[in-house]
Amino acid sequence: MDIISQLQEQVNTIAMLSLNTFGTLQRDAPPVRLSPDYPEPPATNPSEEAVNVAEQSKAMSAALVQAAKKFDMLVAALPLSGEDAQLKRIAELQAENEAVGLELEKQLEAAELELKMVQELFNQAADNCLNLKKPD
């Protein structure tokens, strides 16, 4: 894929990762104690879930940072140059293309001429051969 499309894909990936991160955290976060009056809810494996959430959040944030780093790397790899430089190069290449095209045409014409000559010679030689050989 060309580099600009890769960059666009990377931007979308960053967006998706941040969406997933916040969504997962909001879904899996353990409830927060609002006030000391309300009793704690009955613990249903709180330690495992807390560990899971902590690990998940670490992994997801690491992925987010990785994606941002990859974006930076892709930006650094962009082969940018000025518009004027490009237009100048295009004009140069067009001129060179014209010149090479003319030479190709010249060579082609000369080669076709030679081909015709050789074919004539061959025809003459074949005719001579036929004429020299008398039937018995």
Binding site: Q8, V11, L25, A68, D72, L78, I90, Q107
Partner: protein, 259 residues
């Protein structure tokens, strides 16, 4: 003029009657339906107009007669063409007629130059099936889409630098969003809007790189073409040399045999 025709008005949508008749109309004095017949005789060079209350038979005496000669084309064609156009607008089930400029190409097979040239390609904006399109394809600026532009305007901006700084800002905003969700969860909307603004700016910057990519592709194509042409020139030269060499050799052989 023979007799005076009654005041007569054509009805707007009447079915097409057989040739040499006009459509039915209304006798304005009595409010009755009438039919008018138009008759032209080239030999007499006269045009007769007859009225009648019957749809199948005109009255004997013409209500109006005009002296003069009409062109060879019968009256019917003028009538039927107008009628046909009216019919197509009135009834939607009939197909539209072909565009009338087909007549300009009557002699195309014998004389292609007699037909007019095709119209030149359209430039600028043109309407098509109710929507306006333009031939000048340009990326609309962010302001046109109602989005604030975060990176500086101007002809020469360092795109790489801007993209990198937008990336940093994005990371910072995501972190701030996490913070807000912990401390002040009800104020998430503004932060989310900011993040989407940054994304839009990034995408717009990347889209503005596409013309540059197109020019680079053109450069690449030209370079490849030049290389192919050079290769072809070399090939031709080589073959010609080989052919010449073979001819020389065969000449030497023939000479050797002759001596």
């Amino acid at each position: 003029m023979v007799g005076s025709p009654p005041p007569f008005a054509f009805l707007p949508s009447s079915p097409l009657l057989p040739p040499s008749t006009c459509d039915a109309g209304v006798d304005l004095k009595r409010g009755l339906l009438m039919t008018a017949w138009v008759d032209h005789q080239a030999s007499h060079k006269t045009l007769w107009l007859r009225h009648g209350h019957s749809r199948s038979r005109p009255q004997r005496r013409p209500s109006l007669s005009l002296a003069g000669s009409l062109p060879e084309r019968p009256c019917r064609r003028v009538v039927t063409e107008e009628r046909r156009e009216e019919m197509t607008t009135a009834t939607s089930s009939s197909y539209p007629p072909p565009p009338p400029y087909y007549r300009l190409y009557k002699d195309y097979e014998h004389d292609p130059a007699s037909a007019p040239d095709p119209p030149p390609p359209i430039q600028g904006a043109f309407p098509l099936f109710g929507a306006t399109y333009t031939t000048d394809v340009v990326l609309p600026t962010l302001e046109d889409q109602g989005v604030r532009q975060l990176y500086p305007k101007g002809p020469n901006i360092d795109i790489k630098k801007e993209l990198r700084s937008l990336n940093r800002e994005l990371q910072l905003h995501i972190l701030e969003l996490a913070d807000i969700l912990v401390e002040r969860p009800s104020q998430y909307a503004r932060k989310v809007e900011d993040i989407s603004l940054i994304f839009k700016n990034m995408h717009h910057l990347l889209n503005s790189l596409r013309p540059h990519q197109a020019r680079a592709a053109l450069v690449h194509i030209l370079e490849r073409q030049i290389q192919r042409r050079k290769q072809a020139v070399e090939d031709i030269k080589k073959r010609r040399e080989e052919a010449r060499r073979l001819l020389k050799e065969s000449l030497q052989i023939v000479d050797g045999q002759l001596r």
